[in-house]
Structures are given as C-alpha cells and as structure tokens.
Symmetry: C2
Subunit: 157 residues, 2 copies
DNA sequence: TATGAAAATGCGGAACA
DNA sequence: TGTTCCGCATTTTCATA
C-alpha cells in the first residue's frame, strides 16, 4: 500500500491521540470529514494501523519496577521455542519479549511492584518455564523512552 | 487513587480497544453511559490512563528489523546521563530506552528497515551520542510479546 | 446537508459513613 | 447530615450517508 503525506499526517496524529474524533482529525489535517473517514478505513483495513490502545501508567497501577531479563533455553529447536513462547505470553507481567540472535535466546521486559514482587515472578513464572537453563536479571533505574511504534518523522509527513 | 473492579474492567477494555465508544464501553461493563463517562474522566485525570495511541505496524511502514542495543557511557555523572538521554530521545528509530543497573548503562530498542538502515542509524545516531564508549548490538529474530502496559488480570478486574 | 447516534452536563435520588 | 456514586433527561456534538 502506497502512503502519501496526508496518510502520514493521519498516522502521526492518531499515534499521539488515538481517541481523536474523525471531525477533529479531518480539520487538523485539512480534509473533509468524509475523505478523512475513507482514508482511515483504508489504513485500518490494510493493516498499517494494527489497533488502538489506552496506555496505562504502570506506576499508578502499583508497578514501579521494570526488569530486563535475558533468558537462554537448553535447545533452540522450534518446538522448544514455541513451548517457551506460549508460556511467556501467559505471564501478565511481561511487557515485551523478543527472540534474539547472540548470546541469549530471549530478552524479556517485565513489570513488577517491587523487588519482592519480582522475586515471586522470577520463582513462579520464569524458572517454571519450559527449557529455561539461564536467567540473567537487570533492573531499570529510569525509563527514558517507551513507545510501541516508530515516530513518524516530520519530513516524511 | 483507589480502583475497584469496575475501574479495572474499564482499563482492561480500553487497553484492548482504545477507540471503543463510551456507550459500547458502558454496555460492556454493565454501567449507564453517564456513570461510565465519569469514571473514565477520573481515570484520565488521575493519570492512571496516560493516553491513547494508534499502534502502527512497523512492518507495514517498512521497518522489519528490531535491534536491542546495550550502551555504556564513559561516566555516570548525572550531567552525562542527561545529555545522552536528550540525544536518544531525538532519534525517531528508538522504540524504548532504559537506564539500567548492571554491566551496561542503557538498553535501547531500535526499529530499522534492514541491516543497511541499521548501519546508518548506528553510525549517524548511536556513535554520535555524547559520552558513549561501548555499543553492543543484538538483533531480534522474532517479536513474541509487545505491549506498553501490564495486562489487567481477570481476577483483579 | 440531514438524520440518527453518541457524549457532556445538570439534577434528583439511593447507599453509606 | 454530608459525601459519593448511580441513572435519567436535556442539550450539544459528532459520524455517516
């Protein structure tokens, strides 16, 4: 799907305010309401927009600690990977998880209330996952940036 | 702010569908439209809901590669950290960045079109940031989980 | 531009301390 | 008796054909 600068403007706006009304969006980017609505439909149907989500404050919900955990499995067979991934998806404290090249198999970001809570998660979830042989935990002192998608650069929008 | 199970149900729903209408939300959680709207206002004003965002497909926008980069600075003075963080915030390819305890100072997640694009980002952005003395890049083979906030567990909602 | 749907707001009433 | 929250009705705003 080919995107033009108006599409990028729509994406940029919706990335910053996912609940903006169609009429406000149309006015902001200088399009009629109907044209704006049609483009939005296209962007959603084509999969460029995957969904809309409320961003909740982990802190306000009592989760003030972020851990970044490097995990290795005992083997890299696809079956082992699939079993581990199914398990990690079930853990509600997992914010992100990537299968990696390099020294460790997975990098996992975890939200916890505090160190005690992290200990629980480590014990009840991480060490209980199938095929895990090595777990290396680091803790975030500060969150500097956190977004799900790349910023739309002004020069492309 | 004290949250009850109705609040958790609202948060859970909005996390999954950030553009749901107030009336649909009210019906889903079994509340009148006005009561629902008031609670939502409160959740927004109190900071539990930080915002609403469209989730864009990095793939559909041409960014098919995710790198996880560990970065060390030459000193951990607050001034050095602040200068580095100001610089990293300016890079549009940065998805997340955390100041860490442990061996490396920062863990940074980066979106790139391909390896060539990553080389450019590495050269133009990462090595150009102030106080950086060590950069260690790993590449994601697969994204298993990616969310900004913790899942609301059914038993709490 | 028109029509119906949805959101904001004000008011009354119930539950509870 | 004061506070908090629900629900209904009105007004205004918005989505969509």
């Amino acid at each position: 799907m080919a995107l033009d600068r108006i599409d990028f403007a729509i994406l940029d706006t919706l990335q910053k305010d996912g609940r903006i009304s169609n009429s406000a969006l149309a006015e902001k980017i200088g399009l009629s309401q109907s044209a704006c609505s049609r483009r939005l439909d296209q962007l959603e149907k084509s999969g460029v927009i995957e969904g809309y989500h409320a961003r909740l404050s982990n802190g306000a919900l009592g989760h003030r600690m972020t851990a970044i955990v490097h995990i290795s499995l005992s083997g890299q067979f696809e079956k082992s990977l699939a079993e581990f991934e199914a398990a990690i998806k079930r853990c509600p404290n997992v914010l992100s998880c990537h299968l990696m090249s390099g020294e460790y198999d997975y990098v996992v970001r975890i939200a916890a209330k505090d160190l005690e809570d992290y200990e629980r998660i480590h014990k009840e979830w991480l060490t209980a996952m199938p095929h895990v042989i090595k777990i290396n935990s680091s803790f975030a002192l500060r969150e500097v940036v956190d977004r799900t998608s790349m910023g739309i650069r002004p020069e492309t929008a």
